[in-house]
């Protein structure tokens, strides 16, 4: 996985925001603004937790551990949720 712009050959594991994407963290959600489309996306728990942890943690194994603890899930379930979120956000054009 590539964190904060670190390059990795596996595109499925990247978490790089697209250029026109900004986000802010609210108390119960994350709001993502797409300046090019003029739209915004609201991400609520538990997906918001995944976004927060992925954006702030350089180390993938550590990020998974944190998310397991936050969501009280097994490693396999956590990985499944991460993959689902990444696929959704990639499809929505939020991440590369």
């Amino acid at each position: 996985m590539s964190w904060h712009g670190q390059r990795n050959n596996d595109p499925e594991e990247k978490f790089i925001l697209r250029n026109d994407i900004l986000f802010t963290v609210d108390r119960k959600q994350i709001v993502v603004a797409d300046r090019s489309k003029g739209t915004s996306t609201i991400i609520t728990y538990p997906d918001a937790a995944i976004w927060s942890v992925l954006i702030e943690n350089h180390n993938r194994p550590e990020a998974i551990l944190i998310l397991q603890a936050i969501m009280n899930k097994s490693k396999a379930e956590t990985l499944k949720m991460i993959d689902r979120c990444l696929a959704t956000w990639r499809e929505s054009g939020l991440i590369e």
Binding site: H4, L17, L22, F23, T24, V25, D26, R27, K28, Q29, V31, A33, D34, R35, K37, G38, T39, S40, I42, I55
Partner: protein, 289 residues
């Protein structure tokens, strides 16, 4: 502002069905063509609204005294009497004495410790319009200007509430510019506040200013977000639409992280000044890059 830009601006207003020319600055009365600009507006049957600090040249003041009743209104941004600016305060007093009938006194709040009670005395002493206009100093996206931070809003809200109570005793109302949020004011007093105060939280929308170079902006704090050059076809409806589209991505949050879980969000409050809201996004963005 060049003559041709000013003429184009009046054409824009006519095209948009707007009947008021609003002159602001800087200090508009210091523009060498100020008298000519007001005269042109009056000849085209516009009313004129002037935003000024009152420190105007004598010839401008004499001219403004001659403007017919009902054609001129002035929002005077006052200097606090305790400030060390005797000359400026005296000039403002002279302007209020001579133009009081068309003046609404106001203040731009940039600190929660700012005193405002003197505005009541001004209204009474100079027979000003019986309204006090309050504005908040907002952050300008492109500059590091002096602004009132949302952390100071509640303290400011208490002071405004006190002002409102005192003003009401003299039949003076309080008017609000953009960016006020209901949570500035003590919850216990909220139901006692006027409808105007309750609705103050929803007034952040493109007000559309025209810069001297002929560029429209959504408002001054957002002056570097989007600029649209004036032309012979654009009207206020089209402009509002363009600016609203540019601001839409930032509509889903407020100035505080807890805004979106507040029951008043999008009902009584749109989340406060858009410039603050956008800066919340920018900080996050800059933090990860």
């Amino acid at each position: 502002m060049a003559d041709q830009v000013y003429d184009a601006a009046m054409n824009y207003l006519s095209r948009s069905g707007l009947n008021q020319v609003r002159l602001l600055g800087g200090e508009p009365t210091l523009h060498p063509g100020f008298i000519k600009m007001v005269t042109k507006a009056l000849e085209r049957d516009f009313t004129v609204c002037l935003f000024t600090n009152g420190l105007m040249p004598e010839d401008v003041l004499c001219f403004l005294e001659t403007v017919p009743e009902g054609k001129l209104s002035i929002l005077l941004n006052t200097i606090h009497p305790s400030e060390n600016d005797r000359k400026g305060i005296d000039r403002q007093r002279d302007v209020m004495l001579r133009l009081g009938r068309v003046i609404i006194a106001g203040i731009n709040i940039c600190s929660s410790s700012q005193k405002m009670e003197y505005l009541i005395d001004y209204v009474r002493e100079y027979n000003l319009k019986r309204e006090i206009r309050l504005g908040l100093a907002h952050p300008v996206l492109s500059k590091d200007n002096l602004s009132l931070h949302p952390k100071e809003y509640q303290r400011t809200g208490y002071a405004i509430y006190k002002l409102k109570q005192d003003a009401a005793k003299h039949g003076i109302s309080i008017g609000f510019d953009c960016g006020f949020v209901p949570c500035m004011f003590p919850e216990d007093y909220y139901n006692l506040l006027s409808e105007e105060l309750k609705n103050a939280g929803t007034c952040c929308h493109p007000v559309i200013d025209l810069l001297a170079d002929g560029s429209f902006i959504a408002c001054y704090p957002l002056n570097n977000l989007l600029k649209i050059k004036i032309n012979d076809t654009i009207d206020s409806k089209k402009l509002s639409k363009r600016f609203e589209e540019a601001l839409r991505p930032y509509n889903e949050t407020g100035i505080y992280p807890h805004c979106t879980s507040c029951p008043l969000f999008k009902k009584r409050c749109n989340g406060g000044c858009m410039s603050f809201r956008i800066q919340r996004y920018r900080r996050m963005y800059e933090g990860i890059n």
